[in-house]
């Protein structure tokens, strides 16, 4: 008995060692990526290339997601509001739920699925084929050349994409409101605009900005720590999508809490 309780402690420490050191590695990478924002050389070509791949590349899926979530919200909210005879206020609820939650979260999930995985697999295959080592051997810092441009590109594109998703979602809600629920266009758009306050707009932009930082760092982190050949690349890709997906919800809860607190 004594022996086992004595032996448990090192075992528990052993179990904790890996997540702790991974956490530490992640923040080290993040620190180096942010520090490079201020350091030369800046690889602007890579930044624009990534902006194109993340921004333009995700436009279609983000637009579709926005459209359908707006339309679905209009249907669901109208049904709920019917109980109170307030169907005319559908626009308000569509607008709030899109700008505060659905726009940021769903767009981030789409970009995580598309780009965190893309970053993990691209950097992962570079790692296992020694291209990362070659980069260092040839005088470039891989974090400066690969991670920082992806960070800048995602952080600038995701808020934009989210804004587009919000508007398309409101449009989707309008289609339902106008042609299915029989709400007048003027009434719909009025209720959409009137309900929004600065706090919502700020929330709607800050959330995607923070999600984007996390998505880029998680994608690059899993990519750069890839080992074990092509199989390893597959594993990293999956891990990056799962981790960034979960982190979106965790961060969303924390951020929402902050905004609710600051608004009251």
């Amino acid at each position: 008995m004594v022996a086992s309780s004595y032996g448990d402690r090192p075992k528990l420490l052993e179990l904790l060692k890996e997540p702790v050191s991974e956490f530490q590695d992640f923040f080290l990478l993040a620190g180096r990526a942010y520090r490079n924002l201020l350091r030369r050389p800046h690889y602007w070509d890579d930044v624009f290339l990534q902006m194109d791949s993340i921004g333009v590349g995700s436009l279609v899926i983000v637009t579709l997601t926005g459209f359908f979530s707006g339309a679905v919200m209009a249907l669901q909210m109208a049904r709920a509001l019917q109980t109170y005879g307030q169907v005319g206020r559908t626009g308000m609820l569509v607008s709030i739920s899109l700008v505060r939650e659905l726009g940021p979260v769903l767009s981030a999930l789409m970009v995580a699925a598309r780009n965190a995985s893309g970053m993990a697999s691209e950097l992962g295959s570079m790692k296992v084929t020694e291209q990362i080592d070659a980069m260092r051997a040839l005088g470039t810092d891989p974090v400066q050349k690969l991670v920082t441009p992806r960070l800048i590109a995602t952080a600038s594109m995701l808020p934009l994409l989210t804004t587009i998703a919000d508007f398309v979602g409101m449009f989707g809600g309008w289609l339902i409101a106008r042609f299915y629920l029989g709400i007048g266009s003027v009434q719909y758009w009025n209720s959409v605009w009137k309900i929004l306050v600065w706090n919502d707009v700020l929330q709607g932009l800050l959330k995607p900005f923070i999600f984007a930082n996390m998505i880029a760092l998680v994608g690059c982190y899993y990519g750069l720590r890839t080992t074990g050949g092509t199989q390893g690349v597959g594993r990293s890709t999956t891990q990056a999508v799962v981790a960034s997906g979960i982190m979106i919800f965790v961060l969303d809860l924390m951020l929402t809490q902050c905004f609710v607190y600051s608004a009251s």
């Binding site: 084929t129 020694e130 080592d133 070659a134 980069m135 260092r136 040839l138 005088g139 470039t140």
Partner: protein, 272 residues
């Protein structure tokens, strides 16, 4: 020979990954102009040795000196200067997939700060390096469009385009057919003899080491010739054998062939 300057020195270098030693107390000195052939089974630490020489891998203990400077305590920025004096051919070529062959070969010229190459000269130097490896005409191609042997040659061009005094080759002939392997070896020997570089070559093919030791490049006829029949000798070639991270043999080819160690004997084939 012993009075030539030491280019690369390992002093009881130990490298381990997750508590398992990949290199254990490895010590050696490579002098200017010398060729070193490093042999050993898969996983014996050959790649790790080359990466440690470049400062890509940090030793857990011991010291690495390159060009008289201690790499062990250096930061990445300081290492860039040292690395610009070394060329490295990685095992799977490690060309950048997203760049063309021209951009790949130009990469060290444009990115190594210590290499002062004016922008307008880059193209000419890239062409010259690709001509050296007989790959002129592939400038605009991507690595994925080339065969394995051609990729290897492009990677050699990238390794030597800055004319580094020390070149490291990781398994340059691995996975190639015998004829292509021979042309690659001929290139390495040409680079060694034309630019007078110090060479470290990892290989598991004894023929490669044999070529290194006994052949030299004939610049008039443009091919290899035996080095012993003229006044000019091939540069001194030292063989090293790694076994599970330990350096178990270091010496000339004659001593290698005379070795009674069963592990060493596995790498030695009769000369032809």
């Amino acid at each position: 020979m012993a009075d030539l300057p030491v280019i690369l020195r390992f002093d009881r270098v130990t490298v381990s990954f997750d508590g398992v030693a990949a290199l254990e107390a490895v010590s050696f000195e490579a002098r200017e102009g010398e060729s070193r052939v490093i042999m050993g089974a898969a996983g014996s630490g050959k790649t790790v040795l080359l990466k440690t020489a470049l400062g890509l891998v940090k030793p857990d203990s011991g010291k690495v000196f390159a060009f008289g400077k201690d790499l062990t305590g250096m930061r990445e920025k300081e290492l860039f200067e040292i690395r610009s004096r070394m060329g490295m051919l990685f095992q799977e070529s490690a060309l950048f997939d997203s760049l063309t062959i021209e951009e790949n070969v130009a990469y060290p010229l444009l990115n190594q700060k210590a290499v002062h190459c004016p922008k307008r000269e880059v193209h000419a130097r890239v062409e010259q390096a690709l001509e050296f490896v007989e790959l002129a005409g592939t400038l605009a191609k991507f690595p994925s469009e080339l065969s394995g042997g051609m990729r290897r040659r492009a990677a050699i061009a990238r390794a030597v385009v800055t004319e580094p005094p020390l070149v490291l080759y990781d398994s340059p002939t691995a996975g190639l057919d015998p004829i292509t392997a021979y042309t690659i070896m001929a290139l390495l020997i040409k680079e060694r003899d034309v630019s007078h570089t110090t060479t470290l070559m990892v290989t598991y093919r004894y023929q490669d080491g044999n070529l290194m030791a006994h052949f030299r490049y004939n610049s008039k006829q443009g091919g290899l010739e035996p080095a012993h029949n003229g006044a000019v000798q091939a540069p001194e070639t030292v063989f090293m054998v790694l076994h599970e991270g330990r350096l178990i043999f270091e010496g000339s080819q004659d001593r290698l062939e005379a070795s009674a160690d069963p592990y060493v004997r596995k790498f030695v084939k009769p000369r032809n």
